[in-house]
Amino acid sequence: MHRRHLLAATLAGAALAPRPASAQGFTPQNPECIAPAAPGGGFDLTCRTTARALNELGIVGPAIRTQNMPGGIGAVAINHINAQRRADPNVIVAVSTGSWVNLAQGRFGRWTENDVRWLGTIGADFGVIAVRRDSRFQNLADLVNAIKQDPGSVPMGAGGAVGSQDWTKAALIARGAGVDPRRLRYVPFEGGGQAMAALLGGHIQVFPGDATEVRGQLEANEIRLLAVLAPNRLPGAFQNVPTAREQGVDAEWTIVRGFYIPPGAPDAAYNYWVDALRRLYAHPGWPAIRDGAGLFEFNMAGREFEELAKRRTAEYRALAREVGVIQQQN
């Protein structure tokens, strides 16, 4: 799927020569990237990586500075944008699938997916289902069967709360097995690292994690991956791991990392930033930087990304309603 986008992006940004982007005469003044995390958090990495790449590869002239605004996986940032910078053309805000999950559950205050302009992605990570190397589960079918027989017999855990994006991966597998996700024995940990420790320690049997955070243990043969929750197989160390869909379970979990801009930003600014992202996709220096940020290729900008954002939030809202983790008033 993302191969096609790369092709489209290459055609769109035909000129590979690094000249600063400029759509309809718009050039940003003191551009900023808002990272809804403290320095060192995931969003911080998204912002700093993108800012560095856009500046160093000559796509955006003025230096982009990263501003940190932690709180509620983006809730504080969307509030700030809508309250104080509704029309600011010089700011982009990092967003992820985790933000969409919270947005769908009504945790972004009164703001919805229609209160920003969705810009595009810089890449994605994908969900994986990890077990210890000596696990009784050889493939996804073993796990699904065990869950079908007795969901309580398979303790699983990941780095997020019930209702979070980490939990949703487990919920999708349960649904694929035709089991109510509420019956899973899901144990939340403080971050993926601690969940991995619990998996290696044998306290949980299944860790629905992200591809990047399990790569080291996979390469060292400490763990086995039952499935990647991606549309296609992933490259490199993951190439021998089948997708869930290959194994007959309709579960896909793409952790998108991208950006939005304020709802009242003019079209010229929107086009400028979309164009900048497309140039980034096409630049030969980008893949190495993206890999360094632990992201797989996933290029999508402009209208297509907006549609994805709205479709995903609608899906997550439906899932949250079905499972009952949604806030009552929404």
């Binding site: 403290a38 320095p39 060192g40 911080d44 990495l45 700093r48 560095r52 501003q67 940190n68 605004m69 932690p70 709180g71 509620g72 996986i73 809730a75 504080v76 509030n79 700030h80 559950q105 945790r107 972004f108 205050g109 309580g152 303790p155 855990g157 997020g160 709360a161 019930v162 209702g163 979070s164 024995r185 144990v187 939340p188 940990f189 403080e190 971050g191 690292g193 601690q194 991995m196 420790a197 619990a198 290696l200 320690g201 044998g202 306290h203 949980i204 990047t212 790569r215 080291g216 243990q217 390469e219 060292a220 400490e222 890999d291 360094g292 940020a293 632990g294 983790v325 806030q327």
Partner: protein, 491 residues
């Protein structure tokens, strides 16, 4: 032995002029970051990463620099904690208990010296342990189950009364209050919002830095302001310097603290603050025969500072040998490796020995640097107190607030810090100890999370909490800690 040969290879890397210089730079930055209350090592490392790329540093050099910032920060937090009663980093909150009374008696320089030496001892002994036992230790650490964590945290909490023995009721109330503060935010077990009062800013919980700055720094300033300022620095400089005899008296405390700190640090689910707290309270129970702890006992400074640095090094063990980040800071260090296309994880030692062993060797060097850097400066730091209050305190407050704002851009956090400041002032006036609030805050969340994890895994069976050898040992310690003082009182 393999480890020794590999370590020698590591020293060949760590001792090149560039890497020595980078380690030194990292130690300087780390110490400064430790002093700055708003910005922690995790933030600093993330901010330094682009700088590493701009200088085109090779991965081992970058890691040597970044790691030096990390363990260097453990040396910085004590300075303001001892001199001004304002901890610069979480673990240093414990250091205020004995450090600040010492400074008030004019022995700030001695306290700084002991804490510097303790930090060095803790860090260096831990690096030695790490050199030889990294992999087996990490294997044991991941075996530590949620039920074991419950027993560990209950043990730490059972010593809470030791923080303020004369005032147990208030200490317990403060501890409970700290626990409740930690519960603010989204409940990880169910996704329900607790004690947020509908505030978006509180969804992610209360930031430790905001709480500590408010209770300690702001509260302290407000208390100072209500008295007619009799020269705050009256006693300074007249106190005796640290004698060899005093230092030797601290050695057993340092050795115990290293053990406690390192073991807790290796566990992926605990941290340096837990280590410092547990070490201090244990030491107080064991060694406070004359009742001098809390009134300015050098051992009460040596213990938490040693444990803090030992735990920081211990925290690197699961990261380096299993690729498991036990804390936010180690997660950022792992991310830095990833940026250099190095897969962090169990294969690091075999595939990229220059990175793993270069880092370990550089930690021996870096800690010597930090000691050499810190000891001569002790007198200079202590002179901080001769700076007029009207220069010192505006600077400290502005630095704290600006630091918080720079990483959060949140006016809400500053208001919250001010509110905690007012609370800190009132609680001091009421003679309520503040450190139990910090301990409750750090331990409370850990306790609830692990208790619920353990009972979820056992399907509600409470006996699972007593099912392993580590947990039984820890429960026995808890029992001893609760009973022992009662027996001693009768004797």
């Amino acid at each position: 032995m393999d480890s020794i040969a590999a370590l020698m290879g590591g020293f060949a890397i760590a001792l090149t002029p560039t890497n020595l210089g980078l380690a030194f730079l990292g130690c300087l930055i780390g110490t400064a970051i430790g002093v700055l209350p708003g910005i922690g090592p995790m933030n600093a490392i993330a901010l330094l990463l682009p700088f590493c790329f701009a200088l085109k540093l090779p991965p081992e050099s970058a890691l040597i620099l970044l790691a030096a910032v990390y363990y260097g920060s453990g040396y910085g937090g004590r300075i303001t904690a001892i001199l001004l009663n304002m901890p610069g980093e979480p673990a240093a909150a414990i250091t205020t208990l004995d450090g600040h009374p010492l400074a008030k008696q004019g022995r700030g320089a001695a306290a700084l010296a002991v804490s510097g030496i303790g930090s060095f001892v803790g860090a260096t002994l831990s690096v030695v342990l790490m050199t030889f036992l990294s992999v087996p230790l990490a294997r044991i650490a991941v075996g530590f189950s949620p039920a074991d964590y419950v027993a560990l945290i209950v043990f730490a909490l059972s010593l809470l009364g030791a923080v303020a023995p004369g005032n147990a009721v208030k200490a317990w109330a403060a501890g409970c209050f700290g626990i409740l503060l930690a519960l603010v935010g989204i409940d990880s077990g169910t996704g329900v919002e607790r004690l947020t009062f509908g505030s978006i800013e509180l969804l992610g919980g209360i930031d430790f830095t905001v709480l500590a700055i408010g209770l300690f720094a702001i509260g302290e300033v407000l208390l100072l302001l209500e008295t007619r300022l009799r020269a705050t620095a009256a006693a300074l400089g007249h106190g005796e310097r640290l004698s060899l005899k005093e230092l030797l008296a601290c050695v057993p405390a340092m050795v115990r603290a290293t053990g406690i700190g390192f073991v807790i640090g290796v566990l992926p689910g605990a941290g340096a603050s837990v280590a410092a707290a547990l070490s201090y309270t244990t030491e107080r129970r064991i060694a406070d025969r004359a009742g001098t702890f809390g009134k300015g006992d050098l051992r009460g400074v040596a213990s938490p500072e040693t444990a803090d640095n030992a735990a920081q090094i211990g925290n690197l063990v699961p990261m380096l040998s299993l690729g498991i980040p036990g804390s936010g800071t180690t997660a950022v260090l792992l991310g830095a490796l990833l940026m250099y296309s190095i897969t962090p994880g169990p294969l690091l030692f075999t595939q990229r020995p220059e990175v793993a062993w270069g880092l370990i060797a550089s930690m021996y060097v870096g800690n010597v640097m930090l000691l050499v850097l810190n000891l001569p400066l002790v007198g200079l730091f202590a002179r901080l107190l001769t700076v007029p209050a009207w220069v010192l305190y505006p600077g400290v407050i502005a630095l704290s607030y600006a630091g918080v704002y720079a990483v959060s851009n949140s006016p809400f956090d500053l208001l919250l810090a001010t509110a905690f400041g007012a609370l800190g002032y009132v609680l001091r006036k009421l003679d309520v100890p503040l450190v139990p609030i910090i301990l409750g805050f750090v331990l409370g969340r850990l306790l609830e999370d692990n208790l619920r994890r353990a009972l979820s895994l056992s399907d509600g069976d409470v006996l699972a909490l007593f099912a392993s050898i580590p947990s039984l040992l820890l429960w026995a310690c808890t029992l001893a800690a609760l009973v022992f003082p009662l027996i001693r009182r009768k004797v």
